[in-house]
């Protein structure tokens, strides 16, 4: 750590000296005010709270919650639910829930808000959140976003003398049998986005999921598992060769964990996947939860996401140095098609059901 710090200081110094400094230190003007709020909340509600679906290896929540714990003394334990499971748990548990805040795919966050499990709250920095990524009342809001990509373990493919796939169509080749995986889309929001990306890329739309279903049926032969848990580690270890997930997770594997990982943006195109949160209606620690949500939109938290290769929802906090590292092996980000959260909302449940019927339960 010491050495790493020194090196990064040196590098920073050099960058500054040569005038290339693009790491803009973002001023967090309201920090003093926020600290007072946090202190009051800590006094009233203790020093730990619960976020449903805080998976350490997803969107670097491990790093974010660790920073929050070490810097501000609030402990947020990991929780492995997944988007849909989180919504199901909140709907079922209602007032007996232990959750204070919940994190999901934004589409599911909006669904959950409609089911009445969120209360309205507008965190600090509310105005900076793009309008299509928040509920006007503050019942849900996106915190960051990624892009659906192939996360490829090149070692696993090299062992079998296989090339890195470039397109959705490549994945259907029989030589990739047992090497491809995506998580269970009825549990994980990102897994749902992954199969929806296939649908959009292959000519489907928010009204028509037939191309997607047909594709997934064929892909089934090559799939290793539909995991109920995140496949981050299996894919980093090489247990899984090609994992369909958000690009940020792949870049973290590559740059932070030092895995033999490449990220591929499929040639037929893909979609972005925004992720959102909400304040739980029955939160037992509402003050802490509010302070935490405020912090998530601060330059600090947004900056952590930017540095761990997730696009902060407040784009001004993105860093150039991280962006430079976000280079897919194949494909380019120009291929990302835009589908709004609102449009996805109508199709999410039918598509999930179709997947259950045609693939999982077939």
């Amino acid at each position: 750590m010491k050495r790493a710090k020194t090196i990064s200081r040196l590098v920073l110094g050099m960058l500054l000296a040569f005038g290339f400094a693009d790491v803009q230190a973002q001023e967090w003007k309201e920090k003093g005010e926020w600290l007072k709020k946090l202190e009051a909340a800590k006094k009233a509600e203790g020093n730990r709270m619960i976020q449903y679906d805080a998976q350490p290896n997803y969107a670097n929540w491990g790093g974010v919650t660790l920073f929050f714990k070490k810097t501000y003394g609030i402990d947020i334990p990991p929780d492995m639910k997944g988007s849909s499971a989180t919504m199901a748990a909140l709907v079922k548990e209602r007032s007996s829930t232990v959750a204070d805040v919940a994190y999901y795919n934004s589409v599911i966050a909006a669904q959950a808000a409609a089911k009445g499990v969120h209360q309205a709250y507008k965190p600090m920095g509310w105005d900076k959140i793009p309008a299509d990524n928040k509920d006007p009342d503050g019942k849900w809001f996106s915190v960051h976003q990624g892009v659906i990509a192939f996360i490829v373990n090149t070692d696993a493919l090299k062992k079998k003398n296989l090339a890195v796939p470039q397109c959705w169509a490549d994945l259907l080749k029989p030589e990739y049998k047992g090497l491809v995986a995506y998580d269970d889309p009825t549990v994980h929001g990102t897994a749902w986005e992954s199969i929806f990306a296939a649908n959009i890329a292959l000519g489907g739309s928010t009204k028509d999921v037939k191309p997607g279903v047909e594709y997934l049926k064929k892909l089934d032969a090559n799939i290793l598992r539909y995991s109920r848990d995140t496949s981050y580690n299996p894919s980093l270890r090489g247990e899984i060769g090609i994992w369909l997930n958000a690009d940020g997770n792949g870049y973290k594997m590559k740059h932070e964990d030092g895995g033999p990982i490449e990220v591929v943006i499929p040639c037929e195109g893909t979609i972005g996947t925004p992720l959102g949160m909400g304040l739980v209606t029955w939160a037992k620690r509402p003050l802490l939860a509010k302070a935490y949500l405020d912090w998530l939109f601060s330059p600090e938290a947004q900056g952590i996401w930017a540095d761990s290769f997730w696009q902060p929802i407040i784009s001004e906090y993105a860093t150039e140095s991280a962006k430079k590292k976000m280079k897919p092996l194949h494909g380019s980000y120009d291929k990302v098609k835009s589908v709004s959260i609102l449009e996805k909302q109508d199709i999410i449940d039918p598509y999930k059901q179709a997947w259950l019927k045609e693939i999982k339960r077939n």
Binding site: A85, V91, R94, V187, I223, Y226, E239, I359, N362
Partner: protein, 296 residues
């Protein structure tokens, strides 16, 4: 033995505990199983309060949850796989464990206690640990494929863990102590003189096995199956880590509870799982006991 109010008094705490923690929750669960699930309520015309919670009236209670084991192909396949794997694994683990059990009863050898102790190790290992061990041993980059690939150039058992065979091996793993200890205690109760008598009377080895040993062993096998079957039926940690599309009933209960909103369905399935498991266990145990009385 005497009849005395003190006996009832001493047993009272235990009874209260079991009623509070097992019997009452179980009947509560049976009742929950009749309540239409959230999805059904949202689709139907049930009343909902301002808070979004539904009020279910008596006439809305439904059998649908209990019937889903027949109507839903996926759930039925889960039950079938559960039963099939429990039976097959029981037979295989009895086949594998009868040898060690016999050695433990009939032979003296150095390190016997150690041998026995090692066979007991999987006892405390939950399904989840066994699933992990299966992945690191016979996963896609498990130890066995890696080592055989390095030695012979052919990865043996690659990704076996994710197949039904791999699932079976993992199940056998946690049955080892249960099968061995039960068989051992059953074999200990044998009348071994019968076997040597049969042999000294000139019975061929085959005849000895067919007419003396097998009938003697049957109750032992049955009572062992009672245990192994029940444990296999209830296990879900292994399936959670290893299965792709297939499902076992406990895993389906977990899925219904956490990925869908059908908490009531999971209650109904839990009741069915419990009834099948406890029923089969009880029947086998009784059968074994009856034949013990006869054999000894």
């Amino acid at each position: 033995m005497m009849r005395h109010w003190l006996g009832a008094l001493y047993i009272m705490p235990l009874t209260v505990f079991f009623v509070a923690v097992m019997v009452y929750p179980f009947f509560n669960m049976v009742f929950q199983g009749f309540i239409p699930s959230q999805a059904m309520l949202e689709a139907g015309s049930a009343m909902s309060t301002a808070d979004g919670e539904y009020i279910v009236t008596w006439d809305e209670l439904t059998l649908a949850n209990y019937l889903s084991v027949f109507t839903d192909d996926h759930i039925r396949s889960g039950l079938t796989l559960s039963l099939a794997i429990s039976v097959i694994v029981s037979f295989v683990s009895i086949f594998l464990c009868i040898g060690p059990a016999w050695l433990l009863v009939r032979k003296e050898f150095p390190g016997k206690r150690m041998f026995r102790a090692i066979l007991t190790v999987p006892m405390a290992f939950s399904g989840i640990i066994i699933g992990f061990l299966a992945v690191i041993m016979i996963g896609r980059i498990g130890a066995i494929p890696l080592i055989t690939d390095w030695l012979f150039g052919i990865p043996v058992a690659e990704a076996l863990a994710y197949s039904l065979t791999g699932l079976g091996i993992a199940y056998i793993w946690f049955q080892i102590p249960r099968a061995t200890l039960n068989l051992e205690s059953a074999i200990r109760k044998f009348d071994w003189d019968l076997e040597s008598a049969a042999r000294s009377l000139g019975a061929s080895p085959f005849q000895t096995v067919r007419y003396v040993l097998l009938p003697l062993l049957t109750p032992a096998i049955v009572s062992t199956m009672a245990v192994t079957f029940a444990v296999s039926m209830g296990s879900f940690g292994v399936a959670l880590l290893l299965l792709k599309k297939a499902t076992v009933l406990p895993l389906e209960i977990y899925t219904q509870m956490y990925s869908t909103l059908a908490f009531e369905l999971s209650a109904a399935l839990s009741v069915q799982l419990a009834v099948v498991t406890v029923g089969v266990n009880y029947f086998l145990r009784r059968y074994g006991e009856r034949h013990y009385a006869f054999a000894s």
